[in-house]
Amino acid sequence: MADKVREQRQYDHLKARHIGLGNADTTKLEWMSNVHRDTYASFAGNAALCLYYSVAMNESLSLTRTRFIEKMIQPCGPKPTEEE
């Protein structure tokens, strides 16, 4: 039992350090959100990609970038309410 607790703690510690770390209990939403956040961060960070989108959307580059970071908040929608 103590081992399990320790394992869990170790996992929590690692997860705090390395965002995106998953295990068997990772939900699909959690995993998807993580992938989407990576993607949006890449869109916001890569100047060429950001410009590409901003030209397509006809929007200011800096606002396009802000939109991408905003999308990182809840990239795949809110957590579903607990269904028992």
Binding site: I19, G45, L51, V55, M57, I69, M72, I73
Partner: protein, 1137 residues
């Protein structure tokens, strides 16, 4: 990397991207004036110097870091006389740099690793700010991580501490700024969002660096609402109230840890106002904040304060293009580093204090600012094609869009042009005395006469010049202190203080060629004798007692220039009509001794000995013999200054006409001018010698011209005209002609005489219903209206570049693709435009999609009919005399009909959204939005398209073109360029009706293509076109990128060259380190390892390496330094300019 692939490419950047990452200002050179450093997108750092007298921005130098620069900051350490530069890049290092003006480069001071390479969510470097007092730097990632560095000084050395962490899990950072707190502990403010709980909470959080305890703590956090996106800090200490301004939708808040928050409303135009850029100009005892909205409107924000801030006042200021960075210089200039399009440089006329503070406004023409300089920029390039060797690019966004034609050549600004009685053959300018600052005489030589003009306020004919006017002149020279000499066919006229002394050749002998320096004269007689003169202290000419006799007639001669502090040039170059170049000594100890001979390809027509700098910094010079041949070839041969030995010839073909040579000074650098069918300028750019044509008349001759009004001009003759001109900017060797467009261009199609450009803008209300002034919209942009589209089709004459017709699309239609299609059955070409109605982006939907067919009528288009489709086709092509349409995952063929287009076949493929199509014969290459390319073949018997080969990597294709029947070059959204080829057997099978097996292999087509090349550009490729960029050059692939990148990929022809260039590139990777610490191999292999491409940009850096390193590399390649340099330069001249 295999060294024996079937295709090997050489990448060369022609125009580095112009999209800026960041711009900073400071006294980087430690001199009185301020400079601006701009980071252009994939890692080009540029130092610009604004000239407050002329109001021009001048680029001092440019440095390629071969890394992606993410952020820049400038900081000045306490007691330092200059600013240093902090850079974060995708190398995962914090780099501290300083400017080195002498070597025209940036020097690395510190390189501190902080995280993984690449642009990642958690790797700091996205934001970088410096404490205003230069004590600390903070860099942040988009999520979680923040690092603080303490910077200091140890003597002359800059030191940087290990980073202090200020990480907070589950937060996103939108903006970061350094708070001005005077000399208290450095304070940083971040606009953050905690996303873990619901609803997510936005706040401005202050982080304090405790210098005593050496740690960072979260000091204070003020909640703001979810629309906030921008932060700017306001002066503190003795200059102001300190604190930050946070901007959100229509609102601004003043936030300070010790003061109550104060809010104000931002003025609105016709939509919500968001702030995207700001600058805080500081005057003696006051400051204000200039902020810019996403529509480009500038607002002046003044902060009223006593002990603490009491009110914020906001006034509309002016409207300029939307900027990435705004920079205000102490001299009252504003540099606008625009997000897209040309960069602007303004001067403040007034400070706009009288404007109203009303919450709404209408934009007005510039009132407080005056535009003083415009720096042309191409970004974004949304498409391009090659027309001859000119690049026709679609540039710009929304109302500031244009079609730009890029012609290789230097722009010339003509000052005066006047007519001559007949066509002049030669032209000289000369001073009258050595001390003269400017030229006094302009001498023109005609077929049988000479004309002397005086240079002053007006140019007038001089009657009493003492020159022989009835004979053509061979040379004119100001000699010694005050003497002047004219050399004509029948003698030398030496004019000293108004006294004329003449020298005549033996009877029956003419002077064929003459060359002079201010102390020497050498003439070649028609009897092949060379006569040499020098002057004494009294400016008298003394003939050398021996004449040298050449083996054949002399066609050209040059003494070169006399180096400062010397009395003579010790070498005489002689070109003879036995196709040789000879170097003869004219040194007193060995006069007329033959030093070396070189055989040329044809007879020399003109010769000049001229030393050129080795690099742009002009630290060292090399003497060259420049030879213009009768066949129109220009040869540049290195001459050893002491021994006169000739080596390392480089040849350039200039045009089918003998080459005449001259010199000029452009941008402070000595250049060689060559005149053939065009005028060319040979100059050193970076470390390479470049020949650039002038976009001007075909001059017969020219020479440097210096007068009070025009100190560094050129005078030239062409036909019966005499012109005085200056070279505007030797840096920009591409001349740009542009035609304005209405909307962001989406595609360009070439017809027989016209270009058809379609444009579409999202979220704007089109004003083009009736007559409107497009200039207003170019300045202020269109009125915003969500969900609305402005779209049109424009016809541009491909020769004159004039818009001949414009069709505005009504009913909220937007055009996305176009095709010029020749229908075989109708024997007529039509223009097909794909339009969609009520299109929404993200999610992608529309109420209807159509193919509009237009008849082509001599520069006009005439609407014929429309065909409704289920989805918008993003790619179309002419296929077997019919129209091929790529619509979602379907390939369809249409035939021309009376009322609409007639559907002939439709095949669904295993793709997502077809975005590009290319065809050859029965083969169709489909470029998909995320599944790379698929090779398809049309089966007439089944009337269907069959996919037979696809790619193993899912690439997000953005541009694609066929190189041959089996090979495709393409680019993807992540900035990769790749070449894939269908295996030969598969290709053969596909052409055989029964050859293909239709079984899918691993859920894809039955066969796979092979990747031949892969290369990372760090810019999204938007077009690939095939063509030769130079006269008689290699056929290359010219590509453009969204950020304004223009480059070429040239095939390396032989295995021998492949081996040489790959070895050289490997050696360069080891010896040329990026100043930001990025590994070149990883940079060019960002997503997929580099394959089959040599980075010519890196290889060309060979020229700037120190001599010992050059020698080491050359040794390892078993070649000499000169040989290596020559190979590199030859590759460049063959592939591009």
């Amino acid at each position: 990397m295999s060294l024996d692939p079937s295709l090997f490419l050489y990448n060369l950047t022609l125009l580095p991207p112009t999209a800026a990452v960041a711009a900073i200002v400071g006294q980087f050179l430690g001199q009185k004036h301020q400079e601006i450093i701009v980071a252009r997108s994939p890692g080009v750092l540029e130092l610009w110097k604004p000239d407050h007298h002329t109001g021009k921005m001048e680029r001092v130098f440019r440095h390629n870091t071969f890394a992606t620069i993410r952020a820049l900051a400038s900081f000045r350490l306490a007691g330092a006389t200059r600013e240093h530069i902090a850079v974060t890049s995708d190398s995962g290092h914090m780099t501290l740099l300083e400017c080195d003006l002498k070597h025209q480069t940036f020097t690395q001071l510190r390189l501190e690793p902080y995280g993984k390479t690449g642009i990642r969510r958690l790797t700091p470097g996205e934001y970088l700010v410096a404490d205003p007092k230069g004590r600390a730097l903070m860099t942040a990632a988009i999520e979680k991580n923040k690092l603080v560095y303490v910077v200091n000084r140890n003597g002359d050395e800059v030191t940087i501490s290990s980073p202090l962490e200020a990480n907070r899990a589950k937060i996103l950072t939108f903006a970061l700024c350094a708070v001005d707190v005077g000399y208290e502990n450095p304070l940083f403010a971040a606009l953050e969002c905690e996303y873990d709980h619901e609803p997510s909470s936005y706040s401005v959080t202050f982080y304090e660096l405790d210098l005593g305890l050496n740690h960072v703590l979260k000091k204070f956090s003020a909640p703001v609402d979810a629309s906030f996106n921008y932060l700017v800090s306001i002066p503190g200490g003795s200059d102001g109230p300190s604190g930050v301004l946070a901007f959100g939708k229509n609102s601004v808040q003043y936030i300070h840890p010790n003061n109550p928050t104060i809010s104000a409303v931002l003025p609105q135009r016709d939509s919500d106002t968001y702030v995207v850029a700001a600058v805080v100009p500081k005057m003696k005892n006051e400051f204000f904040v200039l902020v810019q909205s996403q529509l480009g409107d500038l607002f002046k924000l003044t902060v009223e304060y006593a002990d603490s801030v009491t009110a914020l006042t906001i006034r509309y200021f002016d409207t300029i293009p939307v900027c990435k960075s705004l920079i205000v210089l102490k001299r009252g200039f504003l540099y606008a580093e625009t997000e897209t399009g040309a960069k602007h440089f303004y001067q403040f006329e007034k400070l706009g204090d009288e404007a109203s503070t009303s919450p709404t406004f209408h934009p007005k023409p510039l009132d407080n600012l005056a535009l003083v300089d415009v720096i042309e920029a191409l970004n974004p390039i949304t498409g391009a094609l090659l027309k001859g060797s000119d690049i026709v690019a679609l540039c710009g966004q929304s109302a500031r869009s244009a079609v730009k034609k890029l012609t290789h050549g230097l722009e010339v600004s003509e000052l005066v042009s006047s007519n001559l009685p007949e066509a002049a053959q030669r032209v000289w300018t000369t001073k009258l005395a050595r001390v003269d600052e400017y030229d006094k005489y302009l001498v023109l030589s005609f077929a049988a006469s000479t004309l002397v003009l005086s240079i002053g306020e007006t140019v007038e004919e001089v009657a009493d010049s003492g020159f022989l006017l009835t004979s053509p002149t061979l040379a004119v020279q100001q000699l010694g202190e005050r003497a002047l000499v004219q050399i004509h066919e029948h003698g030398i006229r030496h004019l000293k203080h108004g006294n004329l002394t003449e020298w005549f050749p033996p009877a029956g002998v003419r002077i064929a060629v003459a060359t002079t320096t201010p102390y020497q004269i050498a003439i070649a007689l028609s009897n092949r004798e060379i006569v040499y003169f020098e002057i004494d202290e009294a400016d008298n000419l003394n003939e050398y007692n021996e004449r040298a006799e050449m083996v054949s007639s002399v066609t050209a001669m040059s003494l070169g220039d006399v180096a400062p502090g010397k009395l003579r040039s010790s070498l005489l170059a002689i070109g003879c009509d036995d196709q040789t170049l000879r170097i003869v000594s004219v040194d007193p100890t060995s006069t007329m001794e033959m030093l070396s001979v070189q055989v040329l390809a044809s007879n020399p027509a003109n010769l000049r000995l001229l030393a050129l700098p080795d690099t742009e910094a002009a630290v060292s010079f090399t003497l060259y013999a420049h030879v213009g041949l009768e066949t129109g070839v220009y040869v540049r041969t290195t001459v050893d200054e002491l021994t006169g030995q000739l080596s390392d010839s480089r040849t350039y073909f200039l045009g089918p006409k003998p080459v005449t040579l001259s010199t000029a000074v452009v941008n402070g650098h000595v250049t060689i001018m060559a005149f053939s069918t065009r005028a060319w300028m040979g100059h050193v750019v970076g470390s390479t010698f470049k020949l650039t044509p002038l976009v001007y008349h075909a001059l017969a001759d020219g020479c440097a011209f210096s007068s009070e009004d025009c100190p560094l001009g050129m005078v030239g003759v062409h036909g019966t005209a005499l012109t005085i001109f200056t070279m505007v900017n030797a840096h920009d060797d591409l001349n740009i002609t542009s035609v304005p467009l209405r909307y962001t261009p989406r595609a360009i199609v070439e017809g027989p005489k016209s270009f058809y450009v379609i444009g579409a803008d999202h979220g704007v209300r089109s004003p083009y219903q009736e007559g409107v002034d497009p200039e207003t919209y170019r300045a202020f942009g269109y009125e915003r209206k969500p969900g609305s589209w402005g779209s049109c089709l424009e016809v541009i004459d491909s020769e004159t570049l004039e818009t001949t017709d414009t069709v505005e699309l009504q009913h909220n239609l937007a055009a996305f693709s176009a095709c010029h299609c020749h229908f075989k059955l109708h024997q007529e070409a039509f223009l097909i435009v794909a339009v969609s109605q009520n299109q929404t982006l993200a999610p992608n939907s529309s109420s209807a999609s159509f193919l509009y067919t237009y008849k082509l009528r001599d520069g006009k288009v005439e609407f014929l009919h429309s065909t409704e489709l289920e989805a918008i086709p993003l790619a179309m092509a002419e296929f077997q005399g019919r129209l091929l349409v790529g619509m979602k995952d379907t390939l369809r063929v249409y035939e021309m009909g009376q009322k609409q287009l007639l559907r002939k076949t439709s095949s669904r493929l295993n793709v997502t959204q077809i975005v590009k199509l290319a065809t050859q014969g029965m083969r169709v290459i489909v470029g998909d939005v995320r599944q790379s390319v698929t090779f398809c073949v049309y089966r007439p018997r089944e009337n269907a398209f069959v996919a037979f080969a696809d790619d193993t990597i899912a690439r997000n294709t953005t541009a694609m073109t066929m190189l041959d029947y089996d090979t495709v070059i393409g680019g993807d959204k992540f900035g990769n360029v790749w070449v894939v080829r269908c295996p030969e057997t598969t290709s053969r099978l596909s052409d055989d009706e029964h050859g293909l097996v239709d079984t899918a292999f691993l859920a894809g087509a039955p066969h796979r293509v092979n990747a031949l090349c892969h290369f990372h550009l760090q810019d999204v490729p938007t077009s690939f076109s095939r063509g030769a960029m130079t006269m008689g050059g290699l056929e290359t692939v010219v590509y453009t990128g969204i950020q304004g990148l223009v480059g070429v990929l040239a095939p390396i022809a032989t295995k021998h060259d492949v081996a040489f260039f790959t070895k050289l590139e490997t050696a360069m990777r080891e010896n040329f380190e990026s100043i930001t610490g990025r590994e070149h191999l990883i940079f060019r292999g960002y997503y997929v390892p580099v394959k089959g491409v040599v980075d010519g940009d890196l290889v060309e850096m060979y020229g700037v390496l120190p001599g010992s390193v050059k020698a080491k590399i050359a040794n390892s390649l078993d070649r000499s330094v000169k040989e290596v340099e020559r190979k590199v330069s030859e590759m460049r001249t063959r592939a591009a300019f």
